[in-house]
């Protein structure tokens, strides 16, 4: 479903991604962890071309992402994305936030788009907020709306870029629960997170990155109990013992 082969990326002289090789299959939940500045977010943002790669090959849903001739909007409608800062549209109600892309991109009639939106709002547990504005919601509620917004396009892949990092600790759980549910239902997910409990419980595979490289790739039980790389050991010790 997602295939990185020898992908490199530079910001000017700065080498952000170094020889990335990674394959993610349909239905898999891959959690990317690592210290900040290690290139995790950049890696995820390359998948829907919010960032372009400098060299190598990146194929998503059988499409060469960086081919000039592809219709990127066609690819993006199949990839939902959830951001650290939610990025809900502040001038629209929750319902309008969710129905916009289905109506304008997929050309779904308003009535049907609204029904779909309500279905996903119920799924994330806040159907009563349909007519509220984002500023009236808590962070956790906003992020759940953002997830519903992504799901309403019925994507094949969901990308999560530190979805709980901007939340206060009390609301992190409600967002993670929604994500766990999604994983159970077989969604292909790529998640950048610092939530080790979530990673351990939900991930099919952990990808550990540092300084632009993938250092280790392993199932969670193996990675957490017996990391092979020294850098991963240090990272885990720091993050788990505080």
């Amino acid at each position: 479903m997602i295939y990185f082969h020898q992908v490199n990326k530079y910001y000017g002289d700065f080498h952000v991604l170094k020889d990335i090789n990674l394959t993610i299959h349909q239905g898999e939940v891959v959690v990317i962890i690592g210290p900040s500045g290690s290139g995790k977010s950049t890696l995820v943002r390359c998948i829907n071309r919010l960032e372009t790669i400098t060299s190598g090959e990146l194929i998503v849903d059988n499409v060469k992402v960086n081919d000039k001739n592809i219709d990127i909007n066609q690819l993006r409608r199949n990839i939902g994305m959830v951001f650290q800062h939610f990025n809900l549209y502040p001038h629209m109600t929750v319902l309008q936030n969710i129905t916009l892309a289905p109506m304008k991109v997929l050309r779904i009639p308003e009535k049907e788009a609204k029904e779909t939106a309500m279905y996903y709002l119920e799924k994330v547990g806040i159907p009563d907020k349909a007519n509220a504005y984002p500023s009236e919601l808590s962070g956790g509620q906003q992020q759940r709306v953002a997830i519903a917004r992504g799901l309403a396009m019925k994507p094949k892949i969901m990308l999560f870029d530190e979805p709980t990092s901007a939340l206060d600790p009390e609301t992190i759980g409600e967002v993670l629960d929604v994500m766990k549910q999604l994983a159970k239902e077989g969604m292909t997910m790529v998640v950048v997170t610092h939530e080790m409990g979530f990673a351990r419980e939900v991930a099919d595979r952990i990808v550990f990155m540092d300084q632009g490289r993938i250092l280790e790739e392993a199932p969670p039980e193996e990675f957490f109990s017996n990391p092979k790389e020294e850098r991963a050991k240090v990272f885990l010790r720091r993050i788990l013992n505080h």
Binding site: N48, L50, N73, Q74, R76, R77, I79, G80, M81, F83, H85, N87, L88, Y89, P90, H91, L100, A101, K104, V105, L106, S135, A146, R149, G150, M153
Partner: protein, 217 residues
């Protein structure tokens, strides 16, 4: 003491001027807003030649006196066979001129919308133009209502440039009444009052919008 007879005796002329000033202002307001938004998008779209085109428009137009731009439409284009009546030439000049300032205002508004908005919309499959239309511009315009209001007030006042080319506006009729009656002070006081009738409600309206939109965010 003001000679009110000037106003009453020439009421028809004042009214004709007032209506034409209003017409020129409304047309130029709509026109300059549309052109201004297009130029603003040219300036920030990820397409180099459009950036240059937008920058060239703004830098040329806003650095030339309004009167000269109006002259381009009134005497310049007729030289190549395109003819306008004075009112149209004046209104076009006013539109093109004001658009340069509006473009800068809108551009600053667009740049003030957080980057994540563009990313969220684009990642959902919306095109660049759809994103502009539904996500970026509505937020950008809200943020720039106060400076936009300033530009509109300037526009109404600048419409007096029509008087220079016999554009049948308030200023033109003011000049006409003054040359008929040999009265200057009183005639132009009434002209000024008519401008205030247009600009003060505009000012108040902008203030109202500003307060209301401040609440909605």
């Amino acid at each position: 003491m003001l000679r009110y007879s000037i106003l009453f005796d020439h009421w028809d002329m004042y009214m004709q001027g007032f209506v034409n000033t209003l017409k020129a202002s409304v047309l130029a307001l709509i026109g300059s807003l549309i052109i201004g938004i297009i130029i603003a998008i040219f300036r920030i779209a990820p397409i180099r030649p459009l950036n240059w085109l937008g920058a060239a428009y703004v830098e040329f137009i806003r650095n030339i006196p309004l009167v000269l731009i109006v002259f381009v439409f009134f005497v310049g284009l007729p030289a190549v066979g395109i003819r306008f009546d004075p009112f149209t030439a004046g209104t076009l000049g006013l539109t093109v001129y004001t658009a340069a300032f509006i473009a800068e205002v809108i551009r600053s508004g667009i740049l003030a919308v957080p980057k994540g908005q563009m990313e969220a919309a684009r990642s959902s499959g919306l095109t660049y133009l759809q994103t502009m239309r539904y996500i970026i511009l509505p937020q950008a315009i809200k943020m720039v209502i106060p400076p936009l209001g300033n530009q509109f007030i300037n526009l109404v006042k600048n419409s007096s440039v029509l008087g220079v080319i016999a554009g049948l506006d308030l200023m033109y009729f003011g000049d006409l009444i003054s040359s008929e009656t040999f009265v200057t002070f009183d005639v132009y006081i009434f002209v000024a009052l008519f401008y205030l009738v247009l600009t003060i409600p505009l000012s108040l309206g902008v203030g109202y919008l500003e307060r209301r939109l401040a609440k909605s965010r």
